[in-house]
């Protein structure tokens, strides 16, 4: 359930006050002869549009992205393509940067959807690059290098690295030094970097978020190999609207991906609504700030709740979830043990959590708990349900546990 409901009320308020005008234009039905009035009228939004997105919206999104990254970098709308969500963006880049049968290096644990986005139709293999709890699942260049060599031994040609920053499911931020090392590595191997930055606006805590775009700004040499993916819906609680972004400095990639956007365009009325929404600077600022504040609050409360149950989480600085270590609570230190616990969490406690094995985590027992679609009042309820599941496990020997389907009879 990776939805962000934390600022839904703010967005809803905006819509109630502004949306009708935004979609139909003032005065309704293309009254004024002026350009803007026409664009917002039905004939303006109904007609064929450039498949890669309205320039107006790109300008607005570029500004928004810059804002959420604390203005550390400015985005050029002409290097941007809009897609119906972030997963077609990842798929399109997979088609453009690699041939079927080639591979991407992807640090684990990673977002389970990548298996679909990268492998399914584009036929690109994923070489997992394991990260470990010992160093809070940080990415090491040595591990990347090992992955690269392993691929070579298997006869697989590595065409790029796909990183997520903030990472999902862990929520790590990649620091400047690591990003520079990544660039060096990519240059040395002559491969691409896809930086999935869809949670950039959902950072919390004190660490600084650094976008790949910031490094490339001052670095002319590596421009062609860096491509950024963003998702407007994550930071604005608007997942239903489906607006993803491909941002690339490589003109050839832009040209090819631009043609692919025909298969995955954003609906025009949605684009027009978003142009209005994003140009309301006061609203945008309020929304960004609130999003962070609320995420921080929920993260802290949720982690504290889990800690009380004896469950530690990896240190996270972004995203909608926390990455919890339940390895002490599984029957056997294996994927099987993990999935047994997951089954209880899902079917007995009725908590929709993601088991680490779906994210290709090499250490069993880690789980991804989403908190951004909850309120603070829900936390004790969740913790209670988890407690019931695990107390059956810890306190009583197996033969005394009766599974009545409610999980806590004994």
């Amino acid at each position: 359930m990776d939805e962000n409901k934390l600022t839904l009320d703010l967005v809803e308020e905006w819509f109630v006050e502004n949306a009708k005008e935004a979609i139909l234009g003032g005065g309704g039905g293309g009254g004024g002869g002026g350009g803007e009035g026409e664009e917002l009228s039905i004939s303006g939004i109904a007609a064929y549009q450039p498949s890669h997105g309205l320039m107006q919206l790109k300008v607005a999104v570029a500004g928004f992205m810059s804002q959420i990254m604390e203005n550390a970098v400015s985005f050029d709308p002409s290097l941007m393509l809009l897609t119906a969500g972030a997963n077609p963006a990842i798929e399109m880049l997979s088609f453009c940067l690699a041939d079927s049968g080639n591979a991407f290096l992807v640090p684990t644990p990673y977002y389970p959807g990548f298996d679909r986005d990268v492998k399914w139709r584009a036929g690109v293999e994923i070489i997992p690059v394991p990260c470990r709890s010992a160093d809070n699942f940080s990415l090491s260049i040595a591990a990347l290098d090992r992955g690269f060599n392993q691929a070579k031994k298997r006869g697989l040609k590595v065409r790029g690295i796909l990183i997520s920053n903030p990472s999902n499911p862990v929520g790590n931020l990649l620091n400047r030094e690591t990003l520079y090392s990544l660039l060096d590595f990519a240059r040395e191997k002559n491969i691409h970097i896809v930086s999935n930055e869809i949670f950039a606006g959902s950072t919390h805590g004190s660490e600084e978020f650094v976008s790949m775009a910031e490094l490339i700004d001052s670095n002319y040499l590596d421009r062609d190999r860096v491509h950024i993916v963003y998702d407007l819906s994550k930071d604005l609680s608007l997942s239903g609207f489906r607006v993803g972004v491909i941002y690339s400095f490589n003109n050839n990639v832009l040209a090819a991906a631009k043609k692919l956007t025909r298969f995955s365009s954003v609906s025009a009325p949605s684009q027009h609504l978003l142009v209005s929404l994003l140009s309301d600077t006061e609203f945008v600022q309020k929304s960004i700030k609130n999003n962070r504040v609320r995420l921080q609050k929920m993260y802290v409360a949720f982690v504290a709740g889990l800690k009380q149950l004896g469950i530690e989480c990896a240190k996270s600085n972004g995203g909608f979830s926390c990455w919890a270590d339940m390895s002490e609570l599984i029957n056997s230190y294996s994927v099987k043990g993990e999935l047994e616990l997951w089954d209880k969490l899902l079917n007995t406690a009725k908590l929709n959590v993601t088991p680490g094995s779906c994210c290709h985590c090499i250490e069993p027992g880690w789980f991804q708990f989403f908190f951004a679609n909850l309120t603070e009042r829900d936390i004790p309820v969740v913790m209670n349900r988890i407690l019931k599941i695990i107390s059956c496990r810890i306190i009583l020997p197996k033969q005394f546990v009766i599974d009545t389907g409610e999980g806590w009879a004994s």
């Binding site: 109630v16 139909l24 109904a46 969500g85 002319y220 040499l221 997942s239 043609k259 365009s265």
Partner: protein, 440 residues
């Protein structure tokens, strides 16, 4: 910078650099000429008139009226909690209310002669995505679809580019009004076999683009029988079904299946969209209707790459479930398209130009073969260029539609006002007059 020159530039995929996107054909080049010098009644009366874009603008006013009167309901969907559902919903099943509305609309268009189950509808961001998605599902890279010519130039991209599938053309001739014959299907199939290519299905457009004509019931029966004999799929792209001038003249493959008691229907899949019949291409609303459970399930999963915005689904669910509105819209739209068609046919006839018999769509199929210097593709392209640059009309040459006979052109008539169409007809008239007078 010397260092930069030494570094090998980072390479792109074969898909990225291939020409299979097909966007270098005259079909798309004409649009470029239009983009650079677009006609405007007042500000640019000598600009290029766009007759290469199959867009329906004749019924905008009805949509405008509807949305103006129902704006709140349209934006959120009837009743709250409209906003929250709108904002967060991203399930690839699509809104049930929208699927029901679409199924109902498709039934209305077919005069109730076919029934559609909303749970068999898969939503995609446009028919372009629907056709590509189906191809991914029905064919492996290197496999082929049989497609009757002339066909929509976009298929070269939509069916082949990322999928790696091939198109084997099924040739048709003007002598029988470009209808598909079983013989032509068999010939195409044999050609594929001879090239060691696996044929996975037939893809029809009914009503046809660019012919602007419905496929006769008996022909559809033959094509279905052929597909059954060869045990291959049949995709029926029916995006112009609501743009048939007389409702009774369109037979959907769904009707034939119903008449056959849905026997052996798992090979049939229908593509539909609101871009043509409702004139809403910007909304990006397409759908796949499949009689095959596995295809429905897989297509649904794959549609995660091409979802329709929830807000759009809500808006349209409201509108399409308003039966009074849709009934009136469909009827009026057909009448207006028919009138336009008659206007252009008469205008062309007055200029001495004949068209093939048409009864649907947003375009007519014009025969300029008598004007060709040479009855070749080159001759046709030369004629096309002079029409584009001298007459300033962007029309689509038959070669970009893979027509087997040179000299045919697709001319769109619904994407402009009546006045602009008059201007275009006048230009054509003058062009033909000039050709009659012997050059000095």
């Amino acid at each position: 910078m010397a260092i930069e020159n030494e570094l090998p530039s980072v390479v792109l995929s074969k898909v990225a650099v291939s020409e299979t996107h097909g966007e270098d054909s005259p079909y798309f080049a004409g649009w470029k000429a239009y983009d650079e010098n677009p006609y405007d009644e007042s500000s640019n009366p000598s600009g290029v008139i766009q007759m290469g874009l199959a867009e329906n603008q004749v019924s905008f006013d009805m949509l405008e009226d509807y949305l103006g009167q129902h704006s709140e309901a349209s934006i959120w969907g009837k009743g709250s909690p409209g906003f929250r559902e709108n904002a967060l919903f991203q399930d690839y099943h699509g809104l049930k209310s929208f699927r029901q509305a679409m199924a109902g609309f498709m039934e209305q268009i077919r005069g109730g002669r076919a029934k559609f189950d909303p749970d068999r509808l898969v939503l995609t961001a446009g028919a372009t995505a629907a056709n590509e998605l189906l191809t991914f599902i029905l064919a492996n890279p290197g496999d082929a679809l049989l497609v009757p010519t002339p066909y929509y130039p976009g298929f070269d991209r939509d069916l082949r580019w990322r999928t790696g599938a091939k198109i084997v053309p099924v040739h048709t001739e003007s002598s029988n009004n470009f209808q598909v014959t079983t013989q032509a299907l068999e010939d195409a199939y044999e050609r594929a076999v001879a090239m060691n290519i696996n044929v996975r299905g037939v893809l029809l457009t009914n009503p046809s683009n660019p012919l602007g004509a419905t496929i006769q019931r008996s022909v559809l029966e033959d094509i279905l029988d052929f597909s059954t004999r060869k045990n291959i799929h049949l995709v029926s792209d029916e995006i112009y079904s609501g743009s048939t001038f007389y409702s009774s003249e369109f037979t959907s493959i769904a009707e034939i299946l119903e008449a056959r008691g849905y026997k052996d229907s798992e090979r049939v899949h229908i593509v539909y969209s609101l871009s043509k019949d409702l004139g809403l291409p910007g909304f990006r609303v397409g759908t796949i209707y499949s009689y095959n459970d596995k295809v429905v399930t897989t297509a649904r999963r794959m549609s995660s790459f091409t979802l329709i915005s929830s807000q759009t689904q809500h808006l349209l669910a409201s509108m399409l479930s308003d039966k009074k509105f849709t009934e009136s819209y469909i009827k009026t739209n057909r009448e207006r398209l028919r009138k336009r068609y008659e206007m252009i046919i008469q205008g062309l006839r007055n200029a001495g130009i004949e068209c093939s018999k048409g009864n649907a769509g947003l375009f007519c199929w014009m025969n300029l073969s008598p004007l060709l210097e040479t009855r070749t593709r080159e001759g046709e392209v030369a004629l096309w260029k002079s029409i584009l640059h001298e007459v300033k009309l962007n029309i689509s040459p038959g070669s970009s539609c893979h027509c087997s006979e040179p000299g045919w052109f697709r001319v769109c008539f619904a994407n402009m006002s009546e006045e602009t169409l008059e201007v275009a007809l006048k230009r054509i008239h003058n062009f033909m007059e000039q050709r009659k007078t012997p050059s000095v």
